[in-house]
């Protein structure tokens, strides 16, 4: 599977997200410097790099989660389907419905499994009636590859699930709003190897419907799940290209150093 993916080229070359000259500042700290990148649709794109290199920060720019941090300023253009998401007319609420996000630590709400998944559709008014909502929840849970484990206890609290189940629940919750892009911020860092394998399998499935962007600190994971990889270092986008090429034949010496374990 691995080797196959390494040689596999992108199925679809539509550009979903275009970022140009993006700068991010946390107060006086220049966290992201001049990042330009084009992310393809129906592709898994991995952001890798050492801790604090800005990969998560950049990810959070794509659905404007950085807006919730007072001291954070973003400059430059980020466009989804050609529309500038930092345009004044864009409501981050609508944007985030389109660009879902899964976080590092599983964060189910202290509600039932059903309510966790139904939360997004409810606030966005996606369901016409209760039966419709039931459908959406079931579809999302199936897509999150967790339906079989929880279908008998949809009323149980989401916080009672195991770590891996919680993260898959969160993924199901994110896909329930029918996003076009799914951002994943180190989704497996809090999970054990078995749960990680399950989530990775799921990511591969999700690629068929969404443009998936995943931040990971594990190079193996990036190699396993992604088609394209971007390497960040000290706030700069050092190298971006086919995953196979980045891992086997990096252009930049910094990328090579990181991949071979000399920096990180």
């Amino acid at each position: 599977m691995n080797t196959m993916r390494l040689t596999e080229s992108a199925v679809d070359t539509d550009i979903k997200i275009t970022a140009k000259d993006v700068q991010v500042y946390y107060g006086d700290n220049h966290a992201i410097k001049d990042v330009s990148v084009e992310i393809q649709d129906k592709t898994v794109t991995a952001f890798i790099g050492p801790s604090g290199c800005g990969k998560s920060t950049f990810l959070r720019c794509i659905n404007r989660m950085n807006d919730t941090i007072d001291v954070c300023r973003v400059q430059g253009d980020i466009k989804i389907d050609g529309e500038d998401i930092y345009d004044k007319r864009v409501d981050p609420v609508q944007l985030r419905a389109k660009v879902g996000m899964v976080f590092q630590k599983p964060n189910p709400f202290p509600k039932s499994i059903y309510d966790n998944v139904a939360y997004g559709p409810r606030i966005h008014g996606l369901a016409k009636n209760k039966a419709d909502l039931d459908d959406i929840v079931e579809r999302a849970l199936r897509r999150g590859a967790i339906w079989n484990e929880v279908k008998d206890r949809l009323d149980a609290p989401g916080t009672g699930l195991s770590g891996g189940q919680q993260q898959r629940l969160c993924i199901a919750r994110a896909v329930a709003t029918e996003p076009e892009v799914l951002l994943m911020d180190e989704p497996c860092s809090a999970l054990d190897p078995i749960a990680t394998a399950q989530v990775e399998e799921l990511i591969d499935e999700l690629r068929k419907s969404y443009s998936v962007v995943i931040v990971t600190h594990s190079m193996q994971q990036a190699a396993r799940v992604s088609q394209r990889t971007a390497f960040f270092h000290l706030g700069n986008l050092v190298e971006y290209g086919e995953t196979g090429q980045i891992f086997t034949n990096p252009v930049d010496p910094r990328t090579e150093n990181y991949i071979t374990g000399r920096i990180g």
């Binding site: 659905n63 989660m65 919730t68 007072d70 609420v93 609508q94 944007l95 985030r96 419905a97 389109k98 879902g100 996000m101 899964v102 976080f103 630590k105 964060n107 189910p108 709400f109 202290p110 509600k111 939360y119 997004g120 606030i123 966005h124 969160c170 919750r173 994110a174 709003t177």
Partner: protein
């Protein structure tokens, strides 16, 4: 009536004996300190490296041995002696001697005054000690004492004089024995500690164990206080239930104390007033406090937070007497202007006659509780992990949807705990209701009427002339006990909820 808690000159007389004793023990302490220290050093041939502990520890050890048991016994003696003498003297007064309308307490007051007066007379030289002892009731004791500044309500009866004389002699004997015992203990401790002071004696360990014991005593004072509260109220409550049926207290329908006896003393109307006022207070404080906390923790920028939070907390630091005055003199009259005065009023209605009313007290108490609710809720809302908010915002929820549907439900147990704590505050609050609520005990749903509360009645039954054998006074203790149990229950319940809530996110 023991040193140094007595302001009369008689007290200073006794003070001098106790003070001398105290100073003597202290002197022995100092002596013990230097003796023990030097003896230990001498034992080591002046080389302090050969000592087990630093030289000061040997000294401190001696001082501790000398002072702690002696002074401890002295304090206990001073506390116990008046009680024992009192019981003995009380036994001397025949029951027939106590008049109608008087009580043993009042007679004992006389006895004490006469005894103190005689002591005073002896001290000022107006009377020789012998004469004082032989004084008979025939002579004008009252006049003589009046000259010395001790005013008596009536002439001294022979029984009282006899009791007073016993009182004096018992006190003198007690004092003498106290001196003997305390000095003895001090000397024994001194001797032991000094003789122990040899280089291989582990002085530091002993001293530290002593200090640890003192620390423990200090910590256990909390238990003692609680015990004191519970026991003092319990005993008097039992006395109350002896003279007044418990069924009337707990289930009766009216509160009508009558100092000629035969009172209706039911807690229910008071409880109603208390709960009604607390309810109004919470209706004011909870929405304002909660929304203020939400805004401050979820929306406000750091600048607004830095200004508004401390400003709101000022409201919590204002003494309750200020709120009481505010209720009585500002809010009450303002409400009367709105709801009362007939045609002259703002609404042209005559619903409210006086400034004191349930609404007055409730509103002001609500203001007082705003910062209480807001700072507790603030803590609790902040304890909800940021990941919850991120999860919701990441799904495209607006901040208010996040707060209402994720943060608040997650924080709900904690907020309920905070509200219960606020309710307990409201129930136990005194000054606002004493000044703002009124004194009429009744069951009424009209918030513009004056009503009374448990705390108000405690104050009114225990101030002024009180007779600790009448149910009208004793009922205050039963009310106090109920209040204590009520607030304690609410607090414990609230703390359990809050703790469970915090554990959930730790």
């Amino acid at each position: 009536m023991w040193w140094p808690l007595n302001g009369t000159d008689n007290g200073t007389l006794r003070m001098s004996i106790t003070a001398i004793l105290f100073l003597a023990v202290l002197a022995l302490c100092v002596l013990g300190y230097s003796l023990a220290r030097n003896r230990a050093l001498a034992g080591a041939g002046g080389d302090r490296r050969l000592l087990h502990s630093l030289p000061t520890y040997y000294g401190t050890n001696a001082a501790m041995f000398t002072a702690v048991p002696a002074l401890g016994v002295m304090v206990i003696w001073l506390l116990a002696q008046p009680m024992m003498i009192e019981t003995r003297v009380q036994g001397m007064i025949p029951a027939s001697f106590i008049d109608e309308g008087s009580s043993i307490g009042l007679v004992m007051n006389d006895v004490r005054r006469v005894a103190d007066g005689l002591d005073l007379a002896v001290k000022s030289g107006g009377l020789s000690a012998d004469d004082a002892r032989k004084l008979s009731a025939n002579s004008d004791v009252r006049g003589m004492l009046a000259d010395r500044g001790v005013a008596l309500g009536s002439d001294v009866k022979p029984e009282v004089l006899a009791a007073a004389q016993t009182y004096r002699s018992a006190a003198a004997t007690g004092r003498m024995w106290m001196v003997v015992v305390v000095m003895g203990l001090a000397l024994i401790g001194f001797a032991i500690a000094v003789s122990l002071s040899k280089p291989d004696f582990r002085a530091r360990n002993v001293v530290e164990r002593g200090i640890l014991a003192l620390l423990m005593v200090a910590a256990s004072l909390a238990i003692l206080t609680t015990l004191g509260i519970v026991l003092s109220m319990l005993f008097e409550s039992i006395n109350f239930f002896r003279v007044h049926p418990a069924s009337d207290f707990f289930f009766g329908g009216s509160w009508a104390p009558n100092f000629r006896g035969d009172s209706d003393l039911s807690i229910l109307p008071l409880l109603w007033g208390t709960l009604y006022i607390s309810l109004i207070a919470l209706t004011v404080a909870v929405p304002i406090g909660l929304f203020a906390a939400i805004y401050l923790s979820e929306y406000a920028g750091p600048k607004l937070r830095a200004v508004a939070k401390p400003l709101l907390e000022i409201l919590a630091g204002i003494p309750t007497i200020v709120y009481g005055l505010f209720a009585l003199l500002t809010v009450g009259p303002a409400l009367v202007r709105v709801f009362g005065r007939g045609d002259e009023g703002l609404l042209g209605v005559e619903w409210m006659s006086g400034a004191t009313a349930v609404l007055t007290a409730g509103l002001v108490m609500g203001i007082m509780l705003i910062p209480f609710v807001s700072s507790l809720s603030d803590d609790i809302i902040n304890a909800v992990p940021q990941a919850m908010r991120d999860g919701s915002l990441g799904l495209g929820a607006t901040p208010s949807e996040t707060i209402r549907q994720v943060v608040l439900p997650a924080a709900l147990p904690g907020i309920v705990g905070a509200i219960l704590l606020a309710a307990s505050r409201a129930i136990g609050e005194t000054m606002i209701v004493v000044l703002g609520a009124g004194a009429i005990a009744k069951f009424s749903a009209n918030p513009l009427e004056a009503m009374t509360t448990i705390t108000t009645r405690i104050v009114s039954q225990l101030t002024g002339d009180t007779d600790f054998s009448s149910p009208e006074t004793l009922v205050a203790f039963a009310l106090g006990l109920t209040l204590f149990v009520l607030t304690l229950g609410l607090n414990v319940f609230a703390l359990i909820i809050v703790r469970k809530y915090r554990e959930q996110y730790d």
